[in-house]
């Protein structure tokens, strides 16, 4: 089994928007020993459904089982194993007001983001980009002494 590479995969799960549906999905992952790297969920506009995006990892065989087991849940309508996708993640970072606002603004711009809020004693920056770029942004932001970092989890759409 060890020669089968474990790779990061993103799957979208379209579910009926009913109570405890998220618990069904997450407890399936926990119960069968699958890993969740990140998870986002929101209703799909003008429908009775919700869209769950899960970043996970596993061999091809494990991914196939994850997909099938998800399908088996009664309120699961559709499972998409993303191949060619546009993938975005959001991050909010809080900086102390003493840091240079202009430097932070330039950094955010470089990562397709901007300043979300400036208050009496803090600056909040926001960036939405590919997960890899988000990681780079967080790394670059370290020099401005961030006091809080909140990552949003992945959303993806098939191209």
């Amino acid at each position: 089994m060890s020669n089968i590479s474990k790779s990061r995969r993103v799957i979208s799960v379209v579910v009926m928007n009913e109570s405890s549906v998220l618990a069904r999905v997450t407890s399936l992952f926990a119960g069968r020993g699958y890993n969740i790297e990140s998870l986002t969920v929101a209703p799909i506009p003008n429908t009775q459904m919700s869209h769950i995006t899960i970043a996970t990892n596993g061999s091809t065989k494990v991914m196939e089982q994850i997909t099938k087991q998800l399908h088996k849940l009664i309120p699961v309508y559709k499972v998409i194993e993303h191949e060619e996708m546009v993938e975005k993640e959001m991050v909010l970072i809080k900086f102390p007001i003493c840091e240079s606002l202009s430097d932070i603004t330039v950094l955010c711009n470089a990562y397709n983001g901007g300043i979300a809020n400036v208050g009496k004693d803090m600056i909040i920056a926001m960036v939405a980009d590919e997960p890899k770029r988000i990681a780079h942004f967080i790394e670059a932001a370290q020099r401005y002494n961030p006091c809080e970092i909140v990552r949003g989890g992945v959303v993806a759409i098939e191209r």
Binding site: S19, S20, K68, H71, K72, V76
Partner: protein
């Protein structure tokens, strides 16, 4: 029509054609029990423990093919039912369990007898519902029965808060179900079926591997026809005993950890496995890397998640076995059955070499003898349930099962204490058959309170206790793998089983000789009462053949050869 939630529950049960409900009342489900008192559309059996209620509904379902229904209260009532749900889930039994819940306003407050029933039962039910309003109750009840029996069957829990059982609402029981996210595949893909048939025609050593799915799909006649037409030999899993019929010349026997030599060798040497409704369980495959090394695999299953879960499959077919096999049959009419003759000859030689056997004794009853004798006395006329352990394996090996649904046991979960209540349920379902629970001195005590249930309702289940004063299967492993350290498996201290049965309104027999065994069985049938037949058996008998856990299927510990063979 306007009615209360409690009434809706009863009306739905009646509308679904359920004749017997098993259950136990309590605070949160009292309104429903009040309606049960008033109606006469179905009978209610009061078990003496909720676990037994669910097993009884399970046994009822397995014997009849109908949906079994059990009813329990909230909190401990529900948690007692969980083992029953998990048992039914592992063996895909269609079942609806209705549980009471604290009123909506109390949910989440740690109310008296409150427990998160849908949370706890999520991994061991096909689906579950917590009812939030009286308006959705009729739809949920309809969906519960539909989900239980459609696709790959399974248990469904409906958790109903107490205030919803009192609330009044409009009741119109839906005739149809529409769940956009649930559309099971019944029809096999014709192209895949064609490819599979071509593979069968090209194979030299094909083997039918039959699982519990054949029973659930009620497809055994088609499967027998398939075997007869193609003359392909067959092995059965524990769950499929009876599918081919014991006298069928194409049946090799049971496959797996305690399968017979010919079956396990067939599985190891076949070049094409044709799997109908089996799921390549670890107790069947043994060491996966050594399993069926030379075989291509055709896997027919209604649940796509079963396909390629453990082994790589060359011809996956998702669909109902009934549909798939009936589409295969016309494509196979021109098959050359002589093609497999050499293969069949090899396998029958294997069976002659190491037949299923045991050394009988004139001093003490051998458990295998007791099962064989039971088979001679009752044969196809009885329904046999079992608990879990050595006796279960001996029953599966030595009883001549003639048809599916004649053999009821907890295969997937392996629940001790299943057999007796399941037998009670089975007897309610098929009252014209003698129902025997083959059990052990360990297992029987796990739901022994059901003596009272069976006596009260005059449900004449015969419990044959193969008594070796041990937790036999664990003891066997301790003998073989733990250097005979018999840690906590010695059951020398026992109740007086005969007296115990009699104390609860049944009848008891102590059996130490073969003659007494015959007498006891015959008398128990004649007495038509719940019975304990306490059979003293050889203490240190092992279940053989045996594939040690994690070992390759072809590496079996074999039983001693019968005397008559050794002389040859």
């Amino acid at each position: 029509m306007k009615m209360s939630g409690a009434q809706m529950v009863c009306e739905a049960i009646i509308a679904e054609g359920v004749k017997t409900v098993f259950g136990y009342p309590g605070g949160a489900i009292m309104h429903v029990y009040d309606e049960i008192y008033k109606q006469n559309g179905f009978e209610h059996i009061l078990n003496r423990h909720e676990q037994a209620s669910v097993h009884a509904a399970d046994g009822y379902s397995r014997a009849t093919g109908e949906v079994g229904v059990a009813m329990v209260t909230s909190g401990p009532g529900f948690t007692n039912a969980v083992t029953g749900l998990a048992t039914a889930y592992m063996d895909s039994t269609p079942m609806v369990v209705i549980s009471g819940q604290v009123p909506l306003s109390l949910i989440g407050t740690d109310g008296f007898q409150e427990v998160d029933a849908v949370g706890i039962s999520r991994p061991c039910t096909k689906h579950n519902f917590l009812v939030h309003s009286i308006e959705e109750l009729p739809r949920i009840l309809k969906e519960a029965f539909y989900l239980a029996r459609s696709g790959r069957p399974g248990p469904v829990l409906v958790d109903i808060p107490k205030d919803i059982t009192v609330a009044m609402g409009e009741f119109k029981y839906p005739t149809q179900v529409n769940i956009p996210s649930y559309k099971p595949t019944y029809k096999g893909n014709p192209r895949q079926i064609h490819k599979a048939v071509e593979a069968i025609k090209k194979a030299k050593k094909p083997l039918l591997y039959l699982g519990g799915g054949v029973v659930l799909s009620n497809a055994y006649e088609l499967v027998r026809e398939f075997a007869k037409l193609t003359q392909i030999p067959a092995v059965e899993t524990l769950m499929a005993r009876g599918v081919m019929g014991a006298s069928n010349p194409l049946l090799l026997g049971m496959v797996g950890m305690h399968g017979n030599y010919a079956s396990n060798m067939a599985m190891s040497e076949t070049d094409l496995i044709i799997s109908f409704g089996a799921r390549f369980d670890d107790r069947v495959t043994g060491k996966l890397s050594e399993f069926a090394k030379y075989a291509d695999i055709i896997h027919v299953d209604i649940d796509p998640a079963n396909i390629a879960k453990l082994v790589d499959v060359d011809y996956p077919i998702v669909g109902d076995i009934k549909d798939v096999v009936s589409k295969m049959l016309p494509l196979l009419t021109d098959i050359d059955t002589d093609r497999y003759k050499v293969w069949r000859d090899i396998l029958s030689r294997y069976d002659e070499l190491h037949p299923l056997s045991y050394e009988d004794s004139s001093d003490v009853i051998k458990p295998q003898w007791a099962i064989e004798r039971l088979g001679e006395l009752l044969g196809k006329d009885a329904v046999i349930s079992s608990d879990v352990g050595q006796h279960q394996m001996w029953a599966a090996q030595f009883y001549p099962f003639d048809r599916p649904r004649q053999w009821i046991n907890s295969g997937g979960l392996g629940t001790m204490g299943f057999g007796f209540p399941a037998a009670i349920g089975a007897k309610k379902g098929v009252s014209d058959k003698v129902v025997v629970n083959i059990t052990g001195d360990g297992s029987i005590l796990m739901n022994v309170q059901e003596l009272v249930t069976a006596a009260e309702y005059k449900i004449p289940v015969i419990n044959v206790i193969l008594n070796n004063h041990f937790l036999g299967m664990v003891r066997q492993w301790q003998t073989l793998f733990y250097e005979e350290r018999y840690s906590e498996t010695d059951l020398s201290f026992q109740p007086n089983f005969k007296a115990l049965a009699e104390a609860c309104g049944g009848i008891g027999y102590d059996v130490t000789t073969k003659a007494e065994f015959d007498e006891a069985i015959k008398d128990a049938i004649a007495q038509n009462k719940v019975a304990f037949v306490n059979v003293q058996t050889a203490r240190f008998e092992n279940v053989l053949p045996m594939v040690p856990a994690g070992g390759a299927l072809f590496n079996m510990m074999l039983p001693p050869k019968p005397k008559s063979q050794e002389e040859k």
